[in-house]
């Protein structure tokens, strides 16, 4: 593409800006900030509503609460990414442009992935900032879950990075499914409901470990990273379970994104054929 028409990077940036400026991002982050302030600054709020992990508020927030807020934000932004275009006819308009369909679709998917990484980073940074503002140390050098005797031990600093990576992976996996459904539906409620359904099913499989492998390879474990550091029901070691979970979700995400592209190509081919016949 020539610079005159706008580069591919411009397209991604435009899509990313649209996602970041979406009012849902602001609403969800505001609610999260208020909740986090309540947790860090009010002891009575903390005692009434919070279950503290490892005596560490930052660990508690990034494992038990932040992923849920991020899930909501990502879901609300990813669900309409293609479905709303179909509804208002924007998709057909894009088809009339030379690079409209494929480049735009690719840019939208990449922007959604960047958005997921950015909003997760924002969530972690906001929590850390509130933690420091309330004079609650992050204890980066101490050992995470020192008293719990976990199978995999690491320092708090490493554990926070591990949590970040796992939450991003979990959210990207959700995004990949939601984006695929969004590209095949003209009603935004369908991808949204699918995202909620996936979360609910994974939660049920986590709470009722009927099939052991589905307890180990579970989205909910990625969104609650501390659960991956001990106990495996199917594998003989925790590290194997962790590796299997990570590999499985990377493969699923890649496959779903490829399917989304395939759907786009199929649609282009169909339209080309129908225009030739007319």
């Amino acid at each position: 593409m020539s610079a005159k028409c706008g580069s591919y990077q411009h397209l991604i940036m435009a899509e990313l800006k649209a996602l970041l400026n979406n009012h849902w991002t602001l609403i969800v982050l505001t609610v999260y900030v208020l909740f986090t302030c309540g947790v860090y600054f009010s002891e009575s709020f903390r005692q009434t509503w919070l279950q503290v992990l490892d005596g560490n508020l930052f660990t508690t927030m990034i494992n038990l609460y932040l992923p849920t807020f991020l899930f909501i934000a990502v879901l609300l932004n990813a669900a309409p990414i293609f479905a709303s275009d179909k509804k208002n006819g924007m998709e057909e308009l894009a088809d009339t442009c030379f690079y409209g369909k494929t480049f735009r679709k690719k840019a939208k998917i990449e922007a959604t992935i960047f958005y997921t990484i950015l909003i997760t980073a924002a969530g972690f940074l906001v929590t850390a900032a509130i933690s420091l503002a309330s004079k609650t140390p992050l204890d980066l050098a101490s050992k995470a879950f020192e008293t719990a005797n976990l199978d995999i031990s690491m320092s708090n600093g490493t554990f926070y990075l591990f949590c970040f990576a796992m939450v991003v992976l979990g959210l990207v996996a959700v995004v990949s499914a939601v984006v695929l459904i969004s590209s095949r539906s003209d009603d935004v409620i369908v991808p949204l409901a699918t995202g909620i359904l996936i979360y609910g099913v994974e939660l049920a499989l986590y709470l009722k470990p009927l099939v052991r492998i589905l307890w180990d390879v579970n989205l909910f474990k990625l969104l609650r990273p501390y659960t991956m550091l001990s106990v495996s029901l199917y594998f003989d070691s925790t590290i194997k379970a962790l590796t299997a979970n990570v590999i499985a979700f990377i493969l699923v995400s890649v496959a779903l994104f490829l399917l989304t592209f395939a759907a786009a190509s199929e649609a282009i081919a169909k339209r080309a054929l129908s225009s030739q016949s007319t």
């Binding site: 009434t48 609300l76 309409p80 539906s185 935004v188 409620i189 409901a193 099939v211």
Partner: protein, 392 residues
């Protein structure tokens, strides 16, 4: 009737509602059917049902009671055998040498029989102790209520009837599934009209929008009722397949989940109340969703806000269960739409809310609150939907 039919058709013709409902139903069936080969499902209660009466008689036998109390509620089947009906041992003998999934069936069943007798004795001792304590306690509304309930409880029975499993149907998962499908089907009832600009066009028609309001309401409520009936029937079929029908009715205080709860109901009566609660809750949820849909231009927003309303009540309610007193902190959970659809927390636990000198059963507050929510939701929907109505 034509208008109602057309509106109903509009809701049920959304393919995605049925696809997602089917996926949910399949997943639910998968979870329940997975329990079918558990030892407790195949043997524990099923094998002991023929000697239900003998186990009950043993638990109320003064000699057995004295022995169990003397041994601090920790006895074995062999210790009890000389004191109880020989029919119990004869019935269990047929499982001699049988191994199921690594369990020695006869031994497990003997342990289970001893546990049932021991637990029933312990429960009766605890109940009598609580009644005595309450008689000596100060005369407060809560104590009066508890004394009244505990002294009027039906005679406790061994927990062998399967009613605990049947009552568990509506504990959490099924109300959530029903709620989810209702939200899917009804969140776009008004929002879709706004986004397609149909609401403006309707003003040019003879009857405007007001007649449509009632048709949409009736059609949506019909859809909600249909969802509740379908999911309840499906769950009942699954439970019938896995656990079988309870062979007799039993007082609810005989079930482990409601141990020590001041509830004088019978299990069948409670299950029927749960079915009615599920239906009523589904209709209230529909009214709330319609109200939210009537001021949202996008069904995504409507679905999300309605979902937050229902999920908040559900999460809160599931977190505060297990008590029989409603406090200012728990009352919002107790009167939620989810609580009405489940009833386990509010009615099952016999919850009361203390106001001044009286103890009000929380279920009454739940019903009143939900009736008010229903009425207010309808009123607001009418106002929002007809606010641009042209009168001739």
């Amino acid at each position: 009737m034509n208008l109602i039919g057309a509106e109903f058709k509009k809701i049920v013709s959304k393919k995605y509602v049925w696809i997602l409902a089917l996926l949910l139903a399949l997943f639910y069936a998968y979870l329940i059917l997975n329990l079918a080969d558990n030892f407790s499902v195949v043997y524990s209660k099923r094998a002991l049902q023929p000697v239900f009466q003998e186990i009950m008689d043993a638990a109320y036998d003064p000699q057995v009671q004295e022995y169990v109390i003397k041994n601090e509620f920790n006895v074995t089947f062999d210790e009890l055998q000389p004191l109880i009906s020989p029919r119990i041992a004869q019935t269990l003998e047929q499982y001699q040498g049988k191994i199921y999934k690594g369990y020695d069936v006869e031994k497990q069943l003997k342990d289970e029989a001893a546990l049932r007798i021991e637990s029933l004795v312990e429960r009766n001792v605890t109940l009598n102790k609580m009644i005595q304590e309450l008689k000596n306690e100060p005369d407060t509304p809560l104590n009066r209520y508890l004394l009244q309930q505990y002294t009027h409880m039906p005679k406790m029975e061994p927990n062998l009837t399967r009613w605990d499993d049947w009552i568990d149907i509506n504990h959490s998962m099924l109300p959530l599934l029903i709620g989810f499908v209702i939200l899917l089907g009804t969140s776009g009832v008004y929002s879709n009209e706004y986004s397609s600009k149909m609401h403006g066009t309707l003003l040019t028609t003879k009857n405007g929008r007001s007649k449509l309001f009632w048709s949409k309401l009736v059609a949506s409520c019909l859809f909600a009722a249909l969802c509740a009936v379908m999911f309840q029937s499906f769950a009942a079929l699954l439970y019938m397949h896995v656990y079988g029908l309870p062979f007799k009715d039993t007082p609810i205080n005989s079930l482990t989940s409601f141990y020590r709860m001041p509830n004088t109901m019978w299990a069948l009566q409670f299950y029927l109340c749960q079915l009615a609660g599920s239906l009523l809750g589904a209709i209230v949820l529909t009214a709330v969703t319609l109200c939210i849909s009537s001021f949202c231009r996008s069904n995504l927003v409507s679905f999300f806000i309605s979902g937050i309303y229902f999920a908040t009540g559900a999460l809160y309610s599931l977190n505060v269960e297990g008590q029989y007193i409603s406090s200012m902190r728990t009352i919002f959970a107790d009167v939620s739409t989810f609580s009405l659809m489940s009833l386990t927390n509010v009615l099952g636990n016999g919850k009361v809310f203390i106001v001044g000198n009286s103890a009000i059963p929380t279920i009454r507050l739940t019903l009143i609150t939900q009736a008010v929510i229903f009425a207010v939701a309808l009123l607001l929907t009418y106002v929002f939907y007809n606010r641009k109505e042209i009168t001739a």
